[in-house]
Amino acid sequence: MGKIERNPNGTLSRRGFLQSSVGLTFALTLPTALFARPAAALAEGATPGAVGAWVTVSPDGAIVLAIPVAEMGQGSSTGLAMVFAEEMDADWSRVSITYPPVKPEIFGNPIFGNMMVTYGSGSIRGYWDKVRLQAAAVRNVLMQAAADRWQVPIAELHTEPSLVVHAASNRSMSYGEIAGFAQVPATMPTIDKSALKKMADYRILGKNTPRLDIPGKIDGSALYAIDVQVPNMVYATVLRTPVEGGTPEHVDDAAARNVPGVLKVVPLKNSVGVVAETIEAAFKGRSALNVSWSSLPTDSFNSADGLKDFLARAAKLDDKGVSYVAKGNVDDAFAKAAKVMTSQYSSEYVYHAQMEPMNVTASVSPAGDSAEIWIGTQGVSVNAFAAAAMLKTTPDKIKLNQFYLGGGYGRRSPADMLPEVLPLAKAMQRPVKLIWTREQDVKSAQMRPMTGHQVEAALDADGKVTGWRHRVVGESVVAYRGTEKALENNKGIDGIVLEGSKHEYGIPNQSIAYLRENRGIAVAAWRGIGAGYNKFVIESFIDEIAAAQNKDPVAFRLELLKDEPRAQAVIKAVADKSGWGKAVADGHALGFSYAKVVETYVAAVGEISLDTKTGIVRAHRFWLALDPGIVLNPDSVLAQTEGNVIFGLSQTLKEQVSISGGEVQQNNFYDYPVLRMSEMPEIDIQLMPTDNPAKGIGEASLLLVAPCVGNAVFKLTGKRFRALPLSPERVKAVTGV
């Protein structure tokens, strides 16, 4: 088993990394075009090695890989290390990982504009080619060094784990031995993709491999940002505006400043910071603050009324919105339809509820032009560059230490903690550890947007679906989290909100439109992004169409997906495994759903029952079949899928943030409940790997749960649920006991 660096970055600075590495340190050969952007970051070192290194091989055979993936439990830091070790043909038991320095030009994810970010189930699929090519080049250098030493052609050599072998002369040399004498060439060799290992030759990938981050997570030694202890540090917390965008107008801090241990109260842009010698004093000081906030249009927003507006707008077909998909002639299909079906669906705001409340620690130089930051973030380079911009300095003046993330799910992508911690650290001239209370974390939730949907199907006389219209109404995540300009540049199409609205059903005429709302609410990426509600809408409505024609929902989907062999395979497998079509226990029912999400094919069956008196839906069991392409670490995929089912069930049955007067109404886990152990279903997962590139598994299964449950409740009660969550109040209202 590989060894873990207990602190994924904190102790290994770039300098430390190079000084400690006796042996070979491999740097990537940089295409010159990539130098252009963060030029300042490169100024400190002229040699490639100084710019950042993917791998160091020590003479004792230890191999340290720099893995630029935020580890939040999804396992992709181990997964990417496995990919690297496989292609390098490293002995996995000698591999450990570290977090690289912030050098996006080297360590950036190609599918996310070469930023060092971890989201969108994108680490493995994004780095797949880049890391394999880099690792193959390293292997090639090691082989060439052995070839030179033995005076034999490199073509006569092959590798075993961490060993270069010359079979003809029965000689071998370990990677460690080679590291003792070899030189890294000024230019790394270029490897052609066709020379990369094939699935059949894998030694590491495809086998259950213990995750490198787990040993530290069973004895309390794994370090999260909230755990950091910096000499001379003080503590801070904030009271934030109750309405997004509000600014403090009048701050009565007399009582707060009287709390023993409170050092300073600092009004900030959208909050008031309380700095103290202890965290308990900071929290107490926050409770003693009395602040009035600026008025905003959002002050009058109520989510219950807002949702009615969204749904009314979804029904107004002359309000076209922005076209996302326009295929065939939809108007014509509906004009000629023998039958038209129309339904409205909705979803509420939901909160990430990551277990580690938002926090960050920072120290700012006296001149205010450099900083050190201790953080667990999905957006490493985003935070480093934002800090540089805020301090009006260059990125090389920001040292960012990355830690484990106590839950991410999209919440830890932005750089939203820096506008609070940097001014506080500057004001104090001491390192400041800023921790939000859980209540603040809920009140300042950045939510998956509330959405209203109208979805319509045109059917011909034979019941064939000839037209599909889907209208999505909701606020823009791209505009809120990014900029208005970013949304404009994409012609008003919000890819986060619309994620998952496309499907593979072979319907010739389709239109999908986005009708943007702007109510001033903080909306963000939430695990699965738009697919969380869009797949609920699609998979529920497909079920409605099947039911209206007395067709079996599985057979109906197979008919619509006849040109999709990978979809067919997972659907048939899960139907078979779950005993679809056979009798179930009295008072129970099965529901079905299918989706392709982040290029992973998943199908699911859920078994539920319902207490009509309380309205509580109980999920007993889920069966899933997944084809994500190549499966790198099967047990890790199972773990992610189990977690997705539970997370997905939580949002299906329980989760809702309500907004009144522009303010989040919930406070803590007592009024924002999430699923607990007593509510978990049995989960039965069938992995169906295929020899296709590895795709995302961090979110895919989550999205199937809601439609599965809704479809099963329909089967049980004959009532169709079109609003998330299926909370007891809603269920009771419809089942009417």
């Binding site: 309390g220 909230i226 580690e356 803590n668 699923l675 007593s678």
Partner: protein
């Protein structure tokens, strides 16, 4: 005034207000950061420690209440991370983000100390106050069962 008690079999003395939650004393005064802040309201279990052998939510215990008592945190559960629960946690690869897991393990350890052979229902009832947002419940349940079988 200093409050003295025992943490992980070592004497501890802290200068903190008597109402300071034990959580912050353990984490920030004593630097034992394996115990986590989750909700501060006794709703999530991330801060679970043992007080004289019983699982408690350290965010709900004023430090004055532990004077003269024994506190055990995740760091003191075993000498070499080899408590049967920790071994089962590793074998079954339980943690994902891991943030709640110290609390989960401490909560489970109190159960096994009191009941060597818990039923599945006993385990679920005992663990129901500990939230895992990543959804590792199925593995937690299996790991507690495995540890019980192997004689925790």
């Amino acid at each position: 005034m200093a409050i003295t008690f025992t943490v992980n079999n070592k004497p501890a003395s802290v200068d903190a207000g008597p109402e300071t939650p034990l959580l912050w004393v353990v984490r920030e005064h004593l630097k034992l950061t394996g115990t986590k802040y989750g909700c501060g309201a006794g709703m999530c279990g991330a801060c679970t420690v043992h007080l004289d052998g019983k699982a408690v939510r350290s965010c709900q215990i004023p430090v004055a209440m532990v004077a003269g008592k024994n506190v055990t945190t995740i760091e003191g559960l075993s000498a070499n991370s080899d408590h049967p629960l920790q071994k089962a946690w590793l074998d079954l690869q339980v943690p994902q983000c891991g943030y709640c897991q110290s609390g989960q393990i401490m909560q489970a350890a109190a159960l096994l100390a009191a009941n060597k052979n818990p039923s599945r229902e006993d385990i679920v009832r005992h663990m129901d106050g500990n939230i895992c947002r990543c959804g590792t419940y199925p593995r937690i349940l299996r790991a507690v069962e495995r540890a019980a079988k192997q004689g925790a």
